[in-house]
């Protein structure tokens, strides 16, 4: 309880001396302190670099000055109690927040050195590079085949039908769904079970060959067996993609991720190696959360 009060006081203090959010250009070095965040914010092999990210919903600030790197071929888990801003943060990474009226993002988020909030940036290819899997499986009301073929089609990734079929088969194989659906590709995607639907959504995402995959609580609507299947899949996908996953399950974070970031009330409290965060948290709030004192 004390620590919570301390945090609130700290936040209030910081708000009085809050720096104006700066839009940082590309290739600016970030040799500055990373606010109150404990642990290793930077990654040696960073694919995405977020600096001083603030998100506002109208007048309300949802994210306060988050600094975080997401490394190549790593799975980073974002954990924290409900309403702590982890979903909001992950939606900033492929500009999905653009679709929310009244949402404003300041600060800098770079993908491979390119500022994705640059006014020149075109969100259509950006979202092809940074795919997203949602909390609830959301297959389109089309056939299984069309669900997976949709992305390659709109981006013109294939030359002919044979190539497209190959992409669809490959994506379904990599999502571990091919054997279950290869005879029913013309069935509606909505006819699959929840776990299958979620794997279909993953197949749909990897069909456009993104660099980063964002997952917003991908297993929260699934049973333990389907969850285990998806977790195994995440581990396999790590070889090719960079993955950021929001999860409410600390066991899941421990199982699938290499790094873990703990969010609290819109601030990034602690980030570090997953094993270290779970066995030896450095911040009192992180310890309270992972030991189940609140959350």
């Amino acid at each position: 309880m004390n620590s919570l009060l301390e945090l609130k006081t700290a936040m209030r203090d910081e708000r009085t001396e809050v720096k104006p959010a700066k839009r940082l250009g590309t290739n600016v070095s970030f040799d500055r302190d990373y606010g109150d965040t404990v642990g290793e914010v930077t990654a040696s092999n960073a694919r995405m670099v977020c600096r001083d990210v603030n998100v506002f919903y109208g007048p309300k600030q949802a994210i306060h000055g988050v600094n975080l790197d997401i490394g190549r071929n790593e799975v980073i888990a974002l954990i924290g109690p409900s309403g702590c801003g982890k979903s909001t943060f992950i939606r900033c990474l492929n500009r999905m927040n653009d679709t929310i009226v009244g949402c404003r993002v300041t600060g800098s988020i770079q993908l491979d050195g390119q500022d994705i909030y640059d006014p020149q940036m075109d969100v259509v290819p950006l979202r092809a590079q940074i795919g997203m899997v949602f909390q609830k499986p959301n297959p389109f009301p089309k056939s299984i085949y069309e669900n997976v073929a949709y992305g390659p089609r709109i981006h013109g990734l294939t030359q002919n039908k044979a190539e497209l079929e190959e992409v669809v088969e490959n994506s379904l194989r990599r999502a571990g769904l091919w054997d279950e659906v290869k005879d029913s590709l013309d069935q509606p995607g909505t006819s699959l079970s929840g776990g299958q639907q979620q794997r279909l959504c993953i197949a749909r995402t990897i069909a456009v060959n993104p660099e980063v995959i964002l997952m917003d609580e991908p297993c929260s609507a699934l049973d333990p067996i389907a969850t285990a299947r998806i977790e195994q899949l995440i581990d396999e996908l790590r070889m090719q993609f960079t993955i950021a996953i929001v999860t409410h399950s600390m066991q899941q974070a421990a199982r699938v991720s290499q790094r873990t970031a703990y969010f609290h009330l819109g601030k990034l409290i602690e980030v570090g190696e997953t094993a270290q965060v779970f066995t030896n948290p450095r911040h009192q709030l992180t310890e309270d959360y992972i030991t189940g004192r609140f959350g």
Binding site: V124, P125, G131, F140
Partner: protein, 459 residues
């Protein structure tokens, strides 16, 4: 007491019943409400029901049968030479007696009629007196019985809830029985028509010319009742209307649901729906006086032969009229597509128009089709615009520039003015109405089934 006073008395007695029921329940537990099964007000309603329902029923039944019974009694007492007539003569006689009684009589010269009127007036007074007595007795009986029923363990709440439910069921059946009544009346008249004109002639005949000689010795055509020109006229105008309404309505729905900012939407949607509130007769003279001459002039300048009343004018204006149907329903169904589908498409890098064309519209399509079918049934049944703008000549043509006529227009023309209800000319209107009713009914059922199926998919 006359009937309005009696109704007032029943209301007063019912209110009193509520008051005494409530008081009685409080009295038996000497104010300790928690010892009662139900709240005191339920005991009030319970007693009020015992007082109000039987008396109101008695009043209704009395009102229903009083006229018939009194008439019969009066007729039975009439002198012999006036009796013996049945049917229309008897009805006329009763009318005359009643008129005389009201003082507005024209035939009061006849002393026997005058006597009958006095007799009638006397019977009426007796009847009112009996009714008042019955109502008061029934109220007293119901009140006494209900009052005696109120005890600590009496389940007043459950009984009042049940009474409320019965009342609601009664209300909802009124609409159903009205529909059944309409169908039956149309069916009976149609059967009469089909006895005179064969069904096949009506449904497949190509010539519509309902003018018939009313008397056998009159010179005139024998009439032709082939309804095909009317069906094609209706379909032609409905088709033109849908060609106007579907694209415009759908596209404005897409704009409102997907592109418009919330501010634009809150202003534009009600504005669009105002179109649905314009009386159809206003659309009618807009079509007849503004659009039709414009189309004719335009056609003439292009060297086309356009009649002054054309299917095109009526169809265009009708199309404008049903835009709000299509757009409002489509807008609802587009909004009902879950946000997660949009997110899924955007997250794959789809543009807004790709998302709308390839994900949202296919997902909303069943609902949109249902909305369009409802609009079609509305277009087929529309009357005022076509009466004023489409003309009366039953041409069997697919040319939108010619004058055509529709089923609804013909029903109006057949039934306007002095009519004989045993000539095929008049009865034809009912047959047309039956066909119209069946077609729109089927369209509505199809639309509702499609819409319901779609609902199940996402909820």
């Amino acid at each position: 007491m006359d009937k309005p006073t009696l109704l007032l008395l029943i209301l007063v007695l019912t209110t009193a019943g509520y008051y005494f029921g409530r008081k009685r329940s409080l009295d038996i537990v000497s104010g300790k409400v928690q010892e009662l099964h139900s709240l005191p007000s339920y005991y009030g309603y319970y007693l009020a029901m015992w007082v109000g329902v039987p008396t109101l029923l008695l009043l209704l039944i009395w009102l229903g049968f009083e006229g018939a019974v009194l008439s019969r009694l009066v007729v039975a007492d009439l002198p012999g030479e006036l009796q013996g007539d049945s049917g229309e003569r008897a009805a006329l006689l009763i009318n005359e007696i009643r008129n005389t009684m009201a003082g507005a009589g024209s035939g009061s010269g006849d002393p026997s009629i005058q006597a009958a009127a006095n007799h009638y007036r006397h019977l009426q007074a007796v009847s009112d007196w009996l009714l008042s007595l019955g109502v008061i007795a029934l109220a007293a009986l119901g009140g006494w019985f209900g009052h005696r029923q109120i005890e600590v363990e009496q389940r007043a709440r459950n009984k009042v809830e049940k009474g409320t439910m019965v009342f609601l069921i009664a209300c909802s059946t009124i609409a159903i029985f009205t529909t059944v009544g309409i169908v039956l009346s149309v069916v009976f008249e149609s059967v009469l028509f089909f006895q005179k004109v064969p069904v096949t002639d009506f449904l497949f005949g190509l010539r519509w010319s309902p003018q018939m000689a009313i008397r056998a010795d009159q010179v005139g055509s024998s009439g032709a009742f082939g309804a095909v020109p009317l069906f094609t006229g209706t379909l032609l105008i409905s088709f033109i209307a849908m060609v106007v309404a579907v694209p415009i309505g759908l596209m404005s729905a897409i704009y409102l649901a997907e592109y418009a900012s919330p501010r634009v939407r809150t202003v534009a949607k009600p504005l669009l729906e105002i179109l649905a509130g314009v009386p159809t007769v206003v659309y009618g003279f807009f079509a007849a006086l503004t659009v039709a001459p414009y189309i004719r002039d335009l056609g003439q300048s292009l060297g086309l032969d356009v009649s002054s009343e054309s299917a095109l004018a009526a169809g265009l204006v009708m199309g404008v009229m049903i835009i709000p149907f299509v757009s409002s329903l489509s807008d609802d169904f587009i909004n009902a597509v879950p946000q997660s589908l949009r997110d899924g498409a955007y997250a794959l890098g789809a543009t807004q128009s790709e998302t709308i064309r390839q994900v949202i519209i296919p997902a909303a399509l069943p609902g949109i089709v249902g909305g369009i079918l409802l609009a079609v049934s509305r277009a087929i049944g529309e009357t005022m615009i076509v009466v004023m703008a489409a003309g009366l000549s039953a041409n069997l043509t697919a040319n939108p520039l010619a004058a055509v006529t529709t089923v609804t227009t013909q029903i109006v023309t057949l039934l306007v003015g002095d009519q004989e209800f045993d000539s095929p000319k008049t009865l034809a209107a009912f047959a047309l109405g039956l066909v119209l009713f069946l077609v729109t009914l089927m369209l509505n059922i199809a639309a509702l089934m499609i819409v319901r199926k779609y609902r199940e998919q996402y909820e």
